[in-house]
Symmetry: C2
Subunit: 428 residues, 2 copies
């Protein structure tokens, strides 16, 4: 195989420009490693005139990414436009129909249409690869699909949205409120155009759904991800958690058990001295657990031009080398529909309540918890000046329905004011 | 490809048994993921009668691993005997000559004969894969060879011998001497038959040499690894380093610069709050740095039945899936001979000296360092009861020849007793 692998790049934002730079600067390296030259035939983006700091004059220009995808001189479509539908989907489908392979960084598109797209690609004898869609520069799709292929995967966990981790760690280090740090992040350009994609956990949920499919041989089931963003996390909870030896992270967890597939992307407490607990700023971390390998932890930059382009190029080089793995690690038509677990696995929880300063108030809370079958590991009542006394409780392992019952019962007592805060403590 | 991939397993120690278990227990999973059954035709080991806790009665037995390697019903030799020469080398060469692929966990064999073996394999159109040879269950060979293939690699670092890391962290946590913990580790069966393979850094040096070849496209050059074991690390240095905010690790570093290829496996100081500094016990960690991806950190179990078998099976599944990457990531005959760097990159150093209690002693030390062009970042003299006062110095970035000059000059003064201890501080 000494014919060049000819790319068509759709989308010249940060990542697309990063890919062009690698192809231009490392031609020798790419040829040495893959055994054939990697070239760019044509590119497509919204504006032809924009100065991107990289010379694209040697490539043909296509206004229409679908036309790009169909070009005879393109072997591989590199889809970097983003968006779950629209041009990205149209170009990907056109590429597959025209017999081209596709490399994409588009988690939203694959979280929604991955199953159909993978089936179409495999029916046509083509591959869709998406290393850059999950955790930026960390080669986690490869580690899970290939590196741990001899394992029955038992759990996948990850901090996979750098913006959320930046906000949570910045709140703690600077003692600022969520709203203040959100505004900072916005000023710094860290947020998506629709910030809810980040802080609502949707972006990270897309990524988790893709990893789940690989891990468990199930069809991508983004709708089955229990999503909860970080908007309700207060500086008070961050500080209280820290005093108890925990950090709060937007943590994705996917596990398959006899009860079905459980996928969550929610704020959780994790031990401060665990690898995930120690993760600061915008860095990503994915934890993969398998029956033979025990636990592998991968850490690296989750976004940015260089890291994301590095992941795109890993897929491109795989294809140049003749590595053709199914999109989700096994033939798409052999993936089974996910059987969603009805409730989350039991876990300890952190509870924060505001109590009226009444005799017997604490006893009443303890009684409610006990009635719900919840046993208390630690309880701490803070000194307080005003009416309401904050109370922190760490429970022993608690079934999710018991917790729900308690969360409904507590406000009905005459001693708890407002709504209790409950955060899961994940054993990492 | 629905024909089974038929294995011949040579070596039924811990790892071999782990591989047999995975093949037996996960037949469904392996077939689903690779698209074809993975079976075992025959096995070979020293004792046929030994009870290994796994049923091997369904496989043919070969007393001679070379005969195993040549069998017509073996497509892939899984070499798990170990040893740089002898039966492992003979069986590997026989397999290649007979047109079989080889998966091995044998770092010593590849560190010494990898270039010749890779050339022979590639001439014959076969592959040799060795994920299990480096850092146990961590899929680091794959991450470096494929996951970061779009990067010019700038540095590879790793804590890749769990026994050494166990000894160093146990010395610190229990306040025990090297000799005491060495004896403990020996009792626990953590040490190789020749303990110098572990504590002398040889085993970890083999691993580093293999990663270097992939990272830099150079022929494996184990002889070029500057090796220094952990036998000279004292509890005093561990404690002093801790007070300065550092940990001592047996750290492998490989970097290629205009000065050539630098490979070191030596005790180094690293910041206590860095991922490597936080690594406790027998766990391994590898840090990969590339021009686009910045830094990726991989952490996981570096040894043991399950993790090592997991890595072996990753290679087996790759071959079952038709993934055929060159042993060192590019054709062996395109690897260039490593041009060894004459001296290590400049770095800050930790120095510990014993000073006679004489007026002007410290000034004399400072003068010697200054004469050698070494500038001092921090200096600390401990209170002391006896004759000799321990002095700790952290230097600014220092060229290796300057350090060497100072280490020779200091004992020639009349104020320094014994030999100064110097440990490199690696920026991780």
């Amino acid at each position: 195989m000494t014919d060049p692998l000819r790319l068509g790049i759709a989308g010249l934002g940060t990542v697309g420009v990063g890919v062009v730079k690698i192809v231009q600067q490392h031609a020798d390296l790419l040829t040495a490693r893959s055994g054939r030259p990697v070239t760019i035939s044509a590119v497509s983006a919204r504006s032809r005139e924009k100065d991107r700091g990289v010379d694209i004059s040697g490539y043909d220009w296509e206004d229409d990414p679908v036309a790009l995808a169909k070009r005879e001189d393109v072997d591989l479509l590199v889809e970097l436009m983003g968006g779950e539908d629209g041009p990205a989907k149209a170009a990907t489908e056109a590429a597959i129909a025209a017999g081209k392979d596709v490399v994409t960084a588009n988690k939203a598109m694959l979280a929604h249409h991955g199953q159909a797209m993978a089936e179409a690609a495999e029916d046509a004898g083509r591959v869709i690869r998406f290393e850059a869609a999950v955790a930026g520069g960390i080669p986690v799709v490869k580690a899970l699909t290939e590196g741990l292929a001899g394992n029955r995967i038992t759990r996948v966990m990850g901090v996979m949205n750098g913006t959320c981790n930046y906000i949570l760690t910045r709140m703690q280090s600077a003692g600022l409120s969520y709203d203040e740090v959100f505004e900072e992040a916005n000023q710094l350009g860290f947020l998506e155009a629709d910030p809810n994609l980040d802080v609502g956990g949707i972006d990270a949920g897309h990524k988790l759904a893709l990893l789940s499919a690989i891990a468990y041989g199930t069809q991508v089931d983004f709708g089955g991800v229990a999503l909860e963003g970080i908007g309700q996390v207060t500086i008070e909870d961050i500080n209280q958690a820290a005093e108890l030896g925990f950090r709060i992270k937007l943590l994705g967890v996917a596990r398959l058990s006899g009860r079905g597939l459980e996928q969550r992307m929610t704020p959780c407490l994790v031990p401060a001295n665990s690898p995930i607990g120690q993760l600061e700023g915008g860095t990503n971390m994915v934890v993969l657990e398998g029956d033979s390998v025990d636990q592998i932890v991968l850490r690296g930059p989750g976004a940015g031009e260089g890291p994301t382009a590095s992941a795109v190029m890993a897929d491109v080089l795989d294809i140049a080398r003749g590595i053709r793995v199914s999109t989700f690690g096994q033939p798409a038509r052999s993936l089974v529909a996910a059987n969603r677990a009805a409730v989350a696995t039991a876990a300890p929880y952190y509870l924060r309540l505001a109590l009226r300063d009444k005799p017997g108030a604490l006893a009443k809370v303890a009684a409610v918890l006990s009635d719900c079958g919840i046993s208390i590991d630690r309880m701490r009542q803070r000194s307080h000046g005003g009416e309401d006394a904050p109370v922190l409780i760490v429970t022993h392992k608690t079934a999710a329905p018991s917790l729900q019952e308690a969360l409904e019962a507590l406000p009905r007592t005459d001693v708890v004011t407002g709504h209790p805060v409950a955060l899961r403590i994940e054993d990492v």
